[in-house]
């Protein structure tokens, strides 16, 4: 079956991802665009015997190639020439969205328009006529409500029918003679004629587009084209100060005419989005509402997921018992029971809260609230020397610091970007959650929610203080101002929400099956062996034997460092292995205390290794010191070795300092 390439494009927040998911289902794969670290999503679609490869282009407002996203989208359409470009247009924001549609027609793309969110435009009191729009633009227009899956079949139908359609030409009356004059010269180069839409090249030359200029530099008609261009510019500069702006005006004139004919306004209405935004983005109420929603998110995460954790806990307990009694060989039984099952079980028991956290965050993202969170927090961010766009990677950091650090690429200014990268590890990622849950359950029973939330708040406060310090001493200057669009609130699209939740949870499961699994085996091996050889599985139950193990040797070497906090050598070992991944801290403790996940909180609480103050200091240390090897790796990739080492060093020092302050203050107060 022949494969046909089609592309999806649209402004940000038009529902492009929802339509991509609806078209491709689960047949998707994610990679990077060549040469850059921008995510590239592709999927497959089969319709009426035709196999389509659907490429999801980055969300863009135009195709001027000012940003990396615009460049990627434009290059793909110009060079790969997809058979159909599906432009997703937000019907509730028609005029702004049509600007991209006109630019696509300029390129000569075979456009099919998905007129999405028609329910929201109606809610706003607007009625967009798809038939009229189709007639005016000369391209198929399919009304959709992607969040409800409405119009998707019709869209597939129109895509299949439009495969060999010839796109219409958009004419700009005030510029036509000049465009035609340039085309006349350009068409003398057969190579250009073959590869590009000459009309688009002419328009871009008028706009002084540097990429198109570079194409012309290589043309055999270079001199003639440039000579004609000088003549055209001489003429146009008599009429316009800025030709690019004048062309944009021409586009908007056409758009305004189209909108006038295709849109009817019924009456002035207040929308749900306007009502909610009145409160959620309120000058004084916005921030308390944000913190209230965060508390609700964490309450849901911990309290509602608890029985599911208990089920996993019971399963591993049962499996450990079966393995322990069924295998005769002591070393093998201990490896399976005390190493793999105890270690892995104590990490997997946190799968439900992690999945629930991802679920609630995906829901907040899908509903449109996260954009409001960024908006209300922007004022706070700016005061601490951070750029408004820093908020999005910071919020993402609650999930995982690795993609969050990669998301800083949206910050154009290098200083703003590196500053945001450096403070991002202080945003408490989901991997740290098992440690908080363990210690809060062991030492702060009945106040777990508050104690865990305090860790998140501590992370945010430290991030803001450090941002302020770094801005003052390292990245001197003011962050640039931030403009962002607030998309309308959406009713939950559970398919998208569960899809995102699963993708993120899957990463945790993969980590549990690889790095955590391997570390658990190493910890077990170092616990049951020592300088004298194999100590036997009893080493995990007998403190005397365990003291002769390799792990105790490492722990004792680290013990003086952590002595001021009152932690024993087992805590040092857990933190040491936690460098690889934070989840390992809990797994390591499970092995070292020789108990299953169920008994670990009781074992910790009854041991003399931690007081509540020391436990709180330990949680803070885990929050602040290096999140994981992967995060340091991504900092190196995004900011360079120097900043990766700087992050590593400052986080270790800060973790030590904060833990020390907690212990000293706690000791003085209690």
């Amino acid at each position: 079956m022949k494969e046909v390439v089609i592309a999806l494009i649209g402004n940000p927040n038009t529902g492009k991802t929802t339509i991509f998911n609806a078209l491709t289902g689960l047949r998707q794969h994610i990679g990077n665009w060549p040469g850059v670290t921008v995510e590239k999503k592709e999927g497959e679609l089969e319709h009426k015997g035709i196999k389509f490869r659907v490429v999801d282009l980055p969300g863009v407002y135009g195709l001027t190639a000012y940003s990396i996203d615009e460049k990627i989208a434009r290059n793909f359409i110009v060079q790969e020439k997809p058979k159909v470009v599906v432009d997703i247009i937000d019907a509730s924001n028609l005029e702004r969205n049509l600007y991209l549609a006109l630019q696509l027609l300029e390129i000569g793309a075979n456009v099919v328009i998905a007129l999405n969110k028609i329910d929201i435009s109606e809610e706003k009191g607007y009625n967009v006529n798809p038939e009229k729009l189709e007639e005016l633009l000369g391209v198929p227009v399919v009304p959709t409500i992607a969040s409800k899956g409405e119009g998707i079949d019709k869209l597939k139908e129109r895509i299949a029918k439009s495969l060999d359609k010839k796109p219409p030409i958009v004419e700009y009356p005030n510029f036509e003679p000049y465009i035609k004059k340039l085309i006349k010269v350009l068409e003398k180069d057969e190579k250009l004629t073959r590869q590009y839409n000459l009309r688009w090249l002419a328009i871009k030359l008028l706009e002084e587009d540097s990429d198109v200029r570079a194409i012309i530099e290589k043309s055999k008609m270079r001199d003639d084209v440039l000579k004609t261009l000088i003549d055209v510019f001489n003429d146009l500069h008599k009429k316009y100060d800025d030709i690019e702006l004048a062309l944009a005006d021409e586009r908007y004139k056409i758009i305004s005419e189209i909108a006038k004919k295709a849109v009817t306004k019924k009456e002035e209405r207040i929308t749900f989005t306007e009502m909610l935004d009145e409160v959620f983005t309120h000058k004084y109420l916005g921030i308390p509402v944000f913190f209230s929603l965060m508390w609700m998110a964490f309450k849901f995460t911990f309290d509602v997921s608890a029985p599911f954790s208990d089920i996993i806990d019971a399963f591993f307990g049962w499996l450990g018992g079966v393995v322990g009694s069924g295998i005769g060989n002591d070393a093998l039984a201990s490896l399976l029971r005390d190493g793999i099952l105890a270690g892995l079980g104590s990490v997997l028991v946190f799968l439900p809260p992690i999945a629930f956290l991802f679920l609630v965050f995906s829901w907040l993202e899908d509903s449109g609230y996260m954009a409001r969170a960024a908006f209300v927090m922007d004022r706070v961010m700016h005061r601490f020397g951070l750029h408004g766009k820093s908020v999005v990677p910071m919020i993402m950091g609650f999930g995982c610091n690795v993609p969050a650090i990669m998301a800083t690429r949206t910050l154009e200014d290098e200083k703003d970007r590196i500053l945001t990268i450096l403070i991002n590890p202080l945003m408490s990622c989901s991997a740290r959650l098992p440690v908080y849950a363990l210690f809060a359950g062991a030492f702060f029973m009945g106040r777990e929610g508050t104690v865990i939330t305090s860790m998140y708040i501590l992370g945010i406060l430290l991030a803001l203080i450090l941002a302020w310090l770094f801005r003052g001493f390292i990245f001197k200057g003011q962050p640039s101002h931030f403009v962002m669009e607030l998309p309308p609130y959406n009713k939950p699209n559970w398919r998208t929400i569960f899809g995102v939740t699963w993708t993120r949870t899957e990463k945790f499961l993969k980590k549990a099956g690889t790095i955590i699994f391997a570390t658990m085996i190493i910890v077990w091996l170092l616990s049951v062996t020592g300088p004298s050889g194999y100590l036997g599985s009893n080493a995990l139950e007998s403190g005397e034997l365990l003291a002769k193990s390799w792990v105790a040797t490492i722990g004792r070497a680290l013990e003086p460092i952590f002595k001021p906090f009152g932690w024993d050598w087992k805590a040092g070992v857990a933190l040491f292995f936690g460098f690889l991944a934070k989840e390992v801290v809990v797994g390591t403790m499970g092995i070292l205390y020789g108990v299953g996940e169920e008994s670990l909180p009781y074992a910790l609480a009854s041991s003399s290794a931690f007081t509540p103050v020391a436990a709180f200091a330990f949680m803070a240390f885990v929050l602040i010191y290096v999140p994981c090897v992967a995060t340091i790796g991504v900092i190196k990739q995004e900011a360079g070795t120097k900043w990766a080492l700087f992050a590593l060093l400052y986080e270790l020092l800060l973790a030590y300092l904060v833990a020390l302050v907690i212990v000293l203050m706690g000791g003085a107060l209690l």
Partner: protein, 142 residues
């Protein structure tokens, strides 16, 4: 409509304010039981205070005949109901612990143990929500 918004924002504003104080005081050891026992969680006090502030800001706007007062009643009721749904989910999770898993920590647990101030207030807020749920379907009268 204007009167309804005025009364509802005032009533719910004060109810949430009272319970936010009860919750906050119980965190500091001064437990007062009015219909339901406080949770003793300071964050609950904070969230209830936030919702109270939303309703009362709506009341202030309603006094000035500002049509935006409806937005505060709407957003306040949405948050209140969201909080009540959360409370119901917690009850369901605890019921699984008590009746299905028979967890030690839940011996003798009954659903009444999890009835919190924000569950009761959230359920009452359904009346506030119903009064404004169709506002966006009607033209704005300024």
């Amino acid at each position: 409509m204007k009167k309804t918004v005025k009364y509802l924002t005032l009533i719910f504003g004060f109810l949430y304010l009272i319970y936010s104080m009860i919750e906050s005081l119980s965190y500091f050891g001064r437990e007062t039981t009015v219909i339901v026992s406080p949770t003793g969680d300071l964050f609950v006090g904070f969230v209830l205070l936030t919702i109270s502030a939303i309703y009362l800001t709506g009341f202030k706007k309603a006094l000035k005949n500002d049509f935006k007062a409806t937005s505060y009643l709407y957003a306040g009721s949405i948050l209140s109901i969201g909080l009540a749904i959360l409370a119901l989910l917690v009850i369901s999770a605890d019921a699984i612990e008590a009746y299905l898993l028979k967890s030690e920590d839940f011996i003798g647990w009954t659903p009444l143990d999890d009835v919190t101030s924000y569950l009761v207030l959230g359920l009452l807020s359904i009346f506030a929500y119903l009064s404004v749920k169709d506002v966006s379907k009607k033209p704005v009268k300024v």
